[in-house]
Subunit: 308 residues, 2 copies
């Protein structure tokens, strides 16, 4: 069984969409990544930090899915990272209403001893120096390191971010971020520039328009499943990343052909994530539903054609 270390936020979110709003609910990149990768039965551990206000029930829910939470530091006198946002009508744009870092402001990640030999490492969106700190705690270089990041760090911690990028195998960013990072409008050219920064594989996430996987001269495209209703996009990108690395950790095959399957799995799981608020649907989805929807992805994309 492959071990997977996930570093990222474990948080409270308060979300408003055109379809409703929530009080503080469970959120955070590591939470979504953890729930998503857990569907592959990998031996995962989250490295994060929360406050004394974080319910034991949430930790228990993660443990019940074989997600180790020893690496989640609990600062009894502190408060858990809190984010609040409101989505606009098209759900493609959102405004952040509140960001309270709380305990996250002084996060010093500690990888539990029995996860230091993990072969798979997922660096969820966080300050690049925290991500770097986790890489340096690993007993040996993991077989695969996947990095998620965002434009905020490009604007505010670019040199540290470039240092992390240099040390990872796969980077997952959205199309606008790829363009910002490289100054190239063409995603083909942007991916090539990112290869030169370190990663051998680049995933460009395009939300409702799917995701592109680049490696050398190979390109693979995974669509997003067209859905009747998108209820809440929060966590979809993290869920995608968790599905990607979870599938690779389960199959222990990091070839390009297997990465194709991994991005399809990521896209598949992300399609569940957006159907309800927060992590609700990730908690309720069944193996059968996940498998059936994978068939829908096949029907959506597979064709036979001989010649023109």
């Amino acid at each position: 069984m492959s071990k997977l270390v996930i570093v990222g936020t474990v948080a409270f979110d308060a979300i408003e969409t055109p379809f409703g709003k929530t009080d503080k609910i469970l959120g955070g990149a590591a939470t979504y990544i953890g729930l998503s990768s857990a569907t592959f039965g990998v031996d995962s551990g989250i490295v994060s930090i929360v406050g004394g206000d974080f319910p034991d029930d949430y930790l228990q829910m993660l443990n019940d899915r074989n997600i180790n939470t020893e690496g989640i530091e609990i600062v009894k006198e502190g408060k858990t990272f809190f984010w609040s946002g409101i989505y606009h009508n098209d759900l493609n744009t959102r405004d952040t209403l509140v960001t309270e870092l709380n305990t996250l402001a002084d996060f010093n990640p500690i990888v539990p001893d029995n996860f230091k030999n993990a072969e798979f490492l997922m660096l969820g969106n966080l300050h690049p120096s925290v991500q770097l700190g986790v890489i340096e705690q690993m007993a040996q270089r993991p077989k695969l390191i996947v990095l998620d990041t965002m434009n905020f760090w490009m604007d505010n911690a670019l040199s540290e971010l470039l240092e992390v990028i240099k040390r990872v195998d796969v980077i997952a960013i959205n199309d606008e971020e790829a363009r910002q990072l490289t100054g190239e409008y063409s995603l083909v050219k942007a991916a090539r520039k990112i290869f030169a920064m370190g990663p051998k594989s680049v995933i460009i996430k395009k939300g409702e328009h799917g995701a592109l996987l680049f490696q050398n001269d190979d390109i693979f495209f995974a669509p997003a499943l067209p859905l009747e209703e998108v209820f809440d996009p929060t966590g979809a990108g993290d869920t995608f990343a968790g599905g990607f690395i979870g599938y690779l950790a389960k199959t222990r095959d990091i070839s390009f052909d297997n990465m194709k399957r991994a991005v399809i799995c990521g896209s598949n799981l992300a399609s569940f994530c957006v159907e309800k608020f927060g992590t609700e649907r990730l908690q309720s989805m069944t193996k059968k539903e996940i498998f059936e929807r994978l068939q829908q992805f096949k029907e959506l994309t597979q064709f036979e054609i001989e010649s023109n």
Copy 2:
């Protein structure tokens, strides 16, 4: 050999993109549709109108590709429809600088007698009453009618447009137009509402993000090929439509499975269109290039996966 009637503009375009600008060059929806569908060797005829300023060389170039131009009325004392536009940096948005309808203002389409029995009819983007006039001239109901239209007609001629929509088999519009036409944000729901208006199949064009084909509860997605350079997007949607109906006219099979192949062919041909200004690349591309790029579409989308 299937006959294909194409109604649409034959025009002069003057285009400016971040990469350069052109004087008046050959353009128009029917031109792009004609050149694209001609790659399938169908027996096509364009129904359109031009002025005395339209070069014989252009007509000859179309004839050389087995595109019949008897249905292109030449108004000797008139001028050809002229459009000029400038694309912004991301090539996804453009401003129209000039629209001179000229002879198009009084266009009364006449389908040549030997095309009135055509089995395939492509209604390129034009005033819906012109499109309707062509449907009514056909000797019998064609096997397949495909409609391309745009938001301008939704704003300015909605009742005529709805009348045309009622009488076609396939409609091809972009995502924003589908949302405008139906009031539904979800493309799945939008397609279902359009089914109720008449068409059995709905194609939603998303430009650089590909195209979706809907029929009953089936959905198929054709990506756009990620390109190093997109030089000029003019005509890409028409080229897509021409490839779609051209493939169907060649194969004479309008099943959903064959329509899947047809949208891939459309997407394939559109990827050539954008590589140079205007119709330049459509005129220079070879059968070998088209076939090879079709293999790239396979590599881009095809995967094998057993279970989750």
